[in-house]
């Protein structure tokens, strides 16, 4: 590795770096332009009444809705509820799923016995279980979190178990030559080697838990962005629906980027 500051960079390399930089900023600029273009077109189309703003809503109306909802703090409350439920859902889904994956790794017999059940559970659209959960647990936050957990746990079990099973046999053999028992093999090699898999599962789980939370909020419909969307749809307040969807998109992006950030930190530490 060389220290770039102390190295005299050749003209050719400078041109290369400049070209690279130019290309990157062109990409960012184009992304931004597309966003502006869509919102501008939307605004103009609604203003000129090419589309019905009552049905399609309108960026300026969305901003108005956001402003009024910020004033009474309801927007923060609903967003907060959704974020809270999602985080609880995907953290518990990941932790429980990993624990079950450990159990499956521990007992080959158990893994073989449960395999068909996992396959079916994985294929089953978990949202179909929504009404059942609602009846069993009741219309509370608990139901929503269970929904989020259900969506992420099966994928976690399958992914993490596969990750554990793919641990290099020779690394395990190495520990065995030192006389390691099963617990030591798990703690010293199988689990740490599986951490990257667990983190990549976290990335999938963020999205899945958000789906679970929104479906849960559709059903329970007390608070949260999902509640706002279903409520807005029922009373034909499309401004409210569009505002909520927009916020949801931002929340989803932030949650995903946070997991990416955690991944980077953890992998760097390893």
């Amino acid at each position: 590795m060389y220290d770039s500051e102390n190295v005299i960079v050749s003209q050719e390399h400078k041109r290369y770096l400049m070209g690279h930089k130019r290309k990157n900023s062109a990409i960012s600029f184009s992304r931004f332009i597309i966003l502006i273009f869509i919102f501008a077109l939307w605004e103009i189309a609604a203003y000129k009444e090419w589309i019905d703003p009552f049905i399609m809503s309108q960026p300026s109306r969305i901003i108005k809705t956001m402003a009024s909802m910020s004033k009474d703090g309801s927007i923060l409350m609903h967003t907060g509820v959704t974020v809270y439920e999602t985080i609880i859902g995907f953290v518990s889904g990941t932790v429980l799923g990993t624990m079950i994956a450990i159990a499956l790794w521990w007992s080959d017999f158990l893994a073989k016995v449960l395999d068909p059940y996992l396959v079916v559970l994985n294929a089953l659209p978990k949202t179909a279980l929504g009404p059942i959960i609602l009846v069993w647990i009741g219309g509370t936050t608990k139901s929503i979190i269970v929904m989020a957990l259900l969506l992420s746990i099966v994928v976690t079990i399958i992914n993490v178990f596969t990750g554990f099973s793919n641990c290099d046999e020779d690394k395990i053999k190495l520990l065995k030559t030192f006389g390691a028992n099963k617990r030591q093999i798990l703690r010293k090699v199988v689990f740490p080697a599986g951490i990257p898999t667990i983190i990549s599962t976290l990335k999938i789980n963020v999205g899945l838990s958000l789906v679970g939370v929104i479906v849960g909020e559709f059903l329970v419909s007390k608070s949260g962005l999902g509640h706002l969307i279903i409520y807005g749809g029922q009373v034909f307040k499309m401004d409210l629906v569009m505002t909520s969807v927009l916020i949801l998109a931002i929340v989803a992006a932030i949650l995903y980027l946070s997991v990416l950030w955690i991944e980077k930190k953890v992998l760097k530490m390893m």
Partner: protein, 255 residues
């Protein structure tokens, strides 16, 4: 000389749903203290299986192995094992990788840590003790793997093609180094290899195995005339070619 490893009437069969595979058949072999023995044979003949049995991680179907006069029942501290790749754990620093054996055996203390530090200093890895494996070259990684094996103070080292993942130059340099270290620490070694030149240059004795099921085909005492005997100087000995040709013919390799 005193025998440290006695392999007595070992047979090994593998069972799968498709049937039974005989890997080793009635194999007998003694290794004396401080000896360097190489095992060569056609690929897939059960060489690695034999090492796994000696180390105690595999139980033979028939027969027994005695190490230091005691029957092998499972992995023991008197036997160290070096695998094909270094298998240093990427998430541990070099020092943490080296102490893993002691950690597992619950023997990590001031005294053992001190002796590891000595090994690190002696073999030029002390400055790298807090580095991660990916920051080290292939040769240094293999050296770290050797120190990891030596850390638990085994009397006997089993080397399962430990250099085969390295490029040719590094391979010769590292095999020289490992040989010198093993001689200095007065260890007994059993090396499994595909590389005849490597086997001849390093060993006191070479065991040639037959195709599966493995039996001993022949045993060659290696006596090379070279001053200041090390694997690299041995490669220049006049008898080197003779051994190479003889063993090559015995291996009977047809491609």
């Amino acid at each position: 000389m005193e025998k440290v490893v006695e392999i007595i009437d070992i047979s090994m069969n593998y069972h799968t749903l498709d049937g039974e595979t005989k890997a080793i058949q009635k194999l007998n072999l003694d290794v004396s203290n401080g000896e360097f023995v190489s095992i060569v044979g056609p690929s897939g003949c059960g060489k690695s299986t034999l090492l796994s049995i000696v180390s105690g991680i595999l139980k033979p179907s028939v027969g027994k192995v005695m190490v230091n006069g005691k029957e092998v029942q499972g992995p023991s501290t008197s036997v160290g094992y070096m695998l094909q790749k270094d298998h240093l754990f990427e998430w541990r620093t070099i020092i943490k990788n080296i102490t893993i054996g002691l950690e597992i055996q619950g023997k990590l203390n001031k005294e053992t840590q001190g002796s590891i530090e000595k090994l690190l200093i002696e073999y030029g890895l002390y400055e790298f003790r807090n580095h991660y494996p990916r920051q080290l070259s292939g040769g240094m990684r293999q050296r770290a793997a050797l120190i990891r094996t030596l850390a638990t103070k085994p009397d006997i080292l089993l080397l399962d093609e430990p250099f085969s993942a390295l490029d040719y130059q590094t391979r010769i340099a590292i095999s020289e180094e490992v040989w010198l270290i093993l001689k200095k620490e007065k260890k007994t070694a059993i090396l499994v290899t595909h590389d005849l030149a490597e086997a001849i240059s390093m060993s006191d004795r070479i065991i040639v195995l037959t195709k599966r099921p493995a039996e001993i085909k022949s045993i060659h005492e290696i006596k090379l005339t070279c001053n200041n005997k090390t694997p690299i100087t041995c490669r220049e000995a006049p008898e080197f070619r003779f051994y190479f040709n003889t063993i090559w013919k015995e291996l009977d390799i047809h491609v």
